[in-house]
């Protein structure tokens, strides 16, 4: 039921294959690198769209979740456990097959955590943290919610910036590839460019499907109800604190998942990924995409991140997102695609007469 909603996905897949083929035949496959990165950022942004656009809860701290998703595997897969080999914890992990041994550039023996367990740990930690943070935070509204999430994001940024374990201002580099399945590896390797383009968009499409189905379901309807009037939603028997928390955790896990993959793809992560400016950028893109429009947010997420990553905004990169935020909120608070032009035209022609509205 509701299979019509899958038709755009089919077009999207066709479009993605087309782009890949065109770049291959015109020798411009370098575009795929930024498209891959843009896809991961779009994953964060579509997740945030569920929270902001549908459930109506602002978060100015989502870069924090992305960074947790990126930093934990980065630290675990690069930290050398070889000197700790005698410790029972390391031995237990090794016995469980969660560690990988290898040699570094100088031929030294190294022992790291395998990307799979570190990925799962990152996602679980993010979900747990989002749950713990979300419980008190989501009781807040308006300015208080905005400031509390901003505060959370800032703390995460400061912690990553201050801790030697996370490389302080330099971040973590030399993060190994992530062997997802035999023969399918997330890596920034030149030869794996096309493969990774499909991995990123495959993941994004799965995420998008999850969200599209969710917003069309009973739970999605309840999210939108909370957005419309929390009091009325409560009166419908909707457990609003629980549902807001669910939306928060889901969107946090989306951000962390993107963080894990992009970090393995880039081979590293730096503290700027956790910065407040990143969080605001995600909010800006959700706003441009139309708040409660997954497809709008999806396309804007790809487009704006691609342009930004290609350096099209030059030194005005952050300023561009500031301008976008202001213009959208001044002139089209419901997003560009929902300017209601269609309705206005109908009214003009006298098809729909404007009706009285309540307060």
């Amino acid at each position: 039921m509701g299979f019509a909603r899958y038709i755009p996905i089919a077009f999207l897949v066709a479009g993605l294959v087309l782009v890949q083929q065109v770049t291959q035949h015109t020798g411009t496959t370098f575009y795929l690198t930024q498209l891959t990165m843009a896809a991961y950022y779009a994953l964060v942004i579509t997740g945030l769209c569920l929270l902001m656009g549908y459930a109506g809860q602002i978060s100015l701290g989502h870069a924090g979740f992305f960074a947790i998703g990126g930093y934990i595997p980065a630290a675990l897969t690069t930290y050398n456990l070889e000197p700790l080999r005698e410790k029972w914890l390391v031995q237990t992990l090794d016995a469980a097959g969660l560690l990988t041994a290898g040699q570094d550039l100088y031929g030294q023996q190294v022992l790291h955590v395998h990307p799979w367990p570190s990925c799962i740990l990152a996602l679980l930690l993010t979900a747990g943290l989002a749950f713990v943070i979300g419980m008190p935070v989501l009781k807040l509204k308006g300015h208080y919610l905005a400031m509390a999430t901003l505060g959370f994001g800032t703390i995460v940024y400061r912690v990553f910036l201050a801790m030697p374990l996370f490389g302080e201002a330099d971040g973590i580099s030399a993060v190994p590839p992530f062997p997802l399945l035999p023969g399918v590896t997330v890596s920034g390797d030149f030869a794996a460019r096309t493969e990774n383009y499909y991995i990123a968009f495959g993941l994004l499409i799965v995420g998008l499907l999850f969200l599209i189905n969710l917003v069309h379901s009973r739970i999605g309807r309840a999210f939108r109800a909370i957005h419309g009037s929390e009091e009325a939603a409560n009166a419908m028997g909707i457990n609003t604190p629980r549902l807001k928390l669910q939306a928060f955790v889901i969107s946090a896990v989306f951000a962390a998942l993107a963080g894990v993959f992009l970090t393995h793809y880039n081979g590293g992560i730096g503290p700027s990924e956790a910065s407040v400016m990143k969080s605001i950028r995600y909010v800006a893109i959700v706003a441009v995409g139309g708040m409660a429009s997954l497809w709008g947010v999806f396309f804007m997420g790809i487009l704006l991140n691609f342009m930004s990553l290609r350096g099209m905004f030059g030194t005005y990169d952050d300023a561009v997102f500031g301008v976008i935020l202001i213009l959208i909120m001044l002139f089209a608070p419901n997003g560009l695609l929902r300017l209601h032009l269609w309705q206005r035209m109908r009214r003009w022609r006298g098809v729909d007469k404007p009706k009285s509205r309540t307060e």
Binding site: Y144, I155, D318, M329
Partner: protein, 309 residues
């Protein structure tokens, strides 16, 4: 006399000199936070919105004064910087806020965040990433006045004096000056004020001018101590907001007490936690207060509903 700070099993013995050093540092920062918080409150009281660009006014004041000081003597440079920031405050209100009809809170949050980004990026392109400072108003960085056996920079007394004066002046302004009384009337009941012939829109503009002005002034006096940099505003905004919440949103006299409290806690925290986590302390306090006492330390629930300067 020995002060003992016990924390997590660590025991620090602190000399009275060190204690006073921390205290002065805490009071200096605390007053700046209080000024930012009062800036938040002035705009919040007349409009019901939180201006996320509040910290940018402080940065703008400091940066503009530094640039103008190349051409003007210090007092004139500061006066001109404050005036320019006030004009910017007025422009922001007139261009972005004034003509919106009944905007949602989410919309206002996002607009003022966008403004703060624009101001910051504008500052980056004008002044670059470098750290700048105004010269010390008296003497230089090694001049010190001995108070209770410790050397304190005279600039600290400039900060104390100017911020103290501003707080006192604001208090009198809102208590006795007709314009101040009208602004309070707008804060208490916008519709009633309109009915009495008050132009609430002009009052909103004026509240932006006023909070831009006090922010810029604070940015100038503190610049020699804390330096000015294009991205200094965000941090101040978070601290100022913490203080505004601690004191109870809208309550500016309590904000002064809360500002001093936060400043002193931060200053003493240096002896317990690494410097890098100092900001995290303020934010931690903010989060805890939001969760347990959103109406502030000094307010009570019903008083929080009666907006009062």
């Amino acid at each position: 006399m020995q002060f003992c700070l016990c924390h997590g099993g660590l025991v620090f013995f602190m000399t009275p000199e060190l204690f006073l050093q921390y205290l002065f540092a805490g009071v200096t920062y605390g007053l700046i936070y209080a000024i930012v918080a009062i800036g938040f409150n002035i705009i919040y009281n007349t409009t019901g919105i939180i201006n996320f660009a509040q910290g940018e006014f402080v940065m703008l004041g400091g940066m503009t004064a530094i640039s103008l000081h190349h051409y003007l003597p210090l007092p004139l440079a500061i006066a001109a910087a404050v005036a320019i920031t006030m004009v910017i405050g007025a422009l922001i209100e007139m261009v972005f806020i004034r003509w919106l009809h009944n905007p949602s809170i989410l919309r206002m949050i996002i607009i003022t965040i966008g403004l703060s980004i624009l101001i910051r990026e504008g500052a980056l392109h004008i002044w670059g990433e470098g750290v700048r400072a105004l010269p010390y108003f008296n003497g230089n960085e090694i001049t010190s006045i001995v108070v209770l056996g410790v050397g304190v920079s005279p600039q600290v007394f400039w900060v104390l004096g100017v911020c103290g004066l501003m707080v006192a002046a604001l208090y009198l302004f809102f208590k006795f000056v007709p314009l101040g009384l009208v602004m309070r009337a707008c804060a208490a009941n916008r519709v009633a004020a309109t009915l009495c012939g008050v132009s609430t829109k002009n009052m909103v503009t004026f509240s932006f001018v006023l909070s831009a002005g006090i922010g810029a002034m604070a940015g100038c006096v503190v610049s020699p101590i804390t330096y000015s940099q294009y991205d200094g505003g965000t941090n101040l905004a978070i601290k100022g907001f913490t203080v505004a919440i601690l004191g109870g949103l809208g309550n500016s006299m309590a904000a002064v007490a809360a500002g001093l409290l936060l400043g002193i806690i931060e200053a003493f925290s240096i002896s317990v936690v690494p410097l890098a986590f100092q900001d995290a302390i303020a934010i931690g306090i903010l989060l805890i207060i939001l969760f347990i006492r959103p109406h502030g330390l000094f307010g009570n629930r019903s008083a929080a509903m009666l907006k009062e300067f």
